[in-house]
């Protein structure tokens, strides 16, 4: 789950928590919700919040149900086919990047290569730590990811593109007061 989706989830959960607490209290008779219906401008606010929550829920649902099942690289054997999903390849690519120094965060996207249906192209969006030279680490990343995917999944990797989308902000050096 991407960082953004995780933030959405936190926000969504907070709103749901507050709402369910209110509804529980109302149901138990400890508080009433009538004041919500009475004030007209409050009703607008409630409607807007409800709509936002609804859209948020849909968005979260989509991020959970990723791509339709069945998208993968096939390998034919005597008993049938073995299909490795693109999601699996992305997990492998992501794990492979862990070993590369200087990478803070990474998302991987695997697509079928335009040349042949049995090889893939991998797109990597990374956030770097700002200290390691980017050219070197990108090249190492490309090599590592390609090697891991080919070794673990047996799927040919045609291309590994790296996009450095961000860098970590350097920490402010602390001022010592003696």
């Amino acid at each position: 789950m991407s960082l953004f989706d995780r933030l959405l989830l936190v926000f969504h959960s907070l709103v749901v928590a507050v709402l369910s607490a209110m509804v529980t209290l109302a149901g138990a008779g400890a508080a009433s919700l009538e004041w919500v219906w009475e004030a007209p401008h409050l009703r607008w606010a409630v409607a807007v919040i409800g709509l936002l929550l609804f859209l948020l829920s849909l968005r979260l649902l989509f991020s959970v149900m990723r791509r339709p099942k069945g998208e993968g690289v096939d390998r034919l054997t005597e008993f049938g086919y073995i299909r490795i999903s693109l999601d699996t390849l992305e997990s492998i690519a992501q794990r492979a990047a862990r070993g590369v120094k200087g990478i803070r965060d990474l998302t991987a996207r695997v697509r079928f290569s335009s040349d042949s249906p049995s090889s893939v192209g991998i797109g990597l969006k990374i956030t770097v730590d700002g200290e390691t030279p980017i050219q070197l680490l990108s090249e190492e990343l490309q090599r590592t990811v390609k090697k891991q995917v080919e070794e673990i999944a047996g799927v040919e990797v045609n291309q590994v593109s790296v996009l450095v989308k961000d860098t970590v902000q350097p920490e402010r050096s602390r001022i010592r007061v003696d």
């Binding site: 789950m1 959970v64 149900m65 099942k69 069945g70 993968g72 390998r75 054997t77 008993f79 049938g80 086919y81 073995i82 299909r83 490795i84 999903s85 999601d87 699996t88 997990s91 492998i92 794990r95 070794e151 673990i152 999944a153 047996g154």
Partner: protein, 132 residues
């Protein structure tokens, strides 16, 4: 599962019909015991049911009977294993188990590797169904 004509064997006394659910369970148990298989793959709902502690022995298996018996097995593979070998082993084990136990001929076993499971907790539910 819709009712369709299952493979059956005729003996002098009558028919022996085998329900598709039985094939699912046999295939599922065989697949899960293969070295390198972390578990069967289900959707979001299956992940939740698993989290709640109920195991579904038929999860991840689709049985089709178009031109012969075809079984589709959706699995999660343990990180570190060479995936094509695990897939091949699953195909062999499932075919073997179903043919031995039911006497039916298995036309094909198709394996779908839906995810890789890493040893540390990664947020997703770790699916390990070990049947003793």
């Amino acid at each position: 599962m819709s009712k369709w004509d299952v493979e059956y064997q005729s003996t002098d006394l009558g028919k022996i019909e085998i329900a598709p659910e039985v094939i699912q369970i046999i295939a599922g148990l065989a697949a899960v015991q293969v070295d390198g298989v972390a578990g069967m793959s289900g959707g979001v709902v299956d992940d939740i049911t698993q989290f709640l502690g109920r195991k579904n022995p038929r999860q991840g298996i689709r049985v089709e009977f178009e031109e012969g018996l075809s079984i589709e097995v959706a699995i999660h593979v343990k990180y570190g294993s060479y995936i094509p070998d695990v897939g091949k082993a699953v195909q062999e084990q499932v075919k073997n188990a179903v043919e031995t136990m039911t006497g039916l001929r298995v036309e094909s076993v198709n394996v779908r590797v839906e995810a890789v499971k890493f040893p540390e907790k990664s947020g997703a539910v770790e699916a390990t169904q070990r049947v003793k």
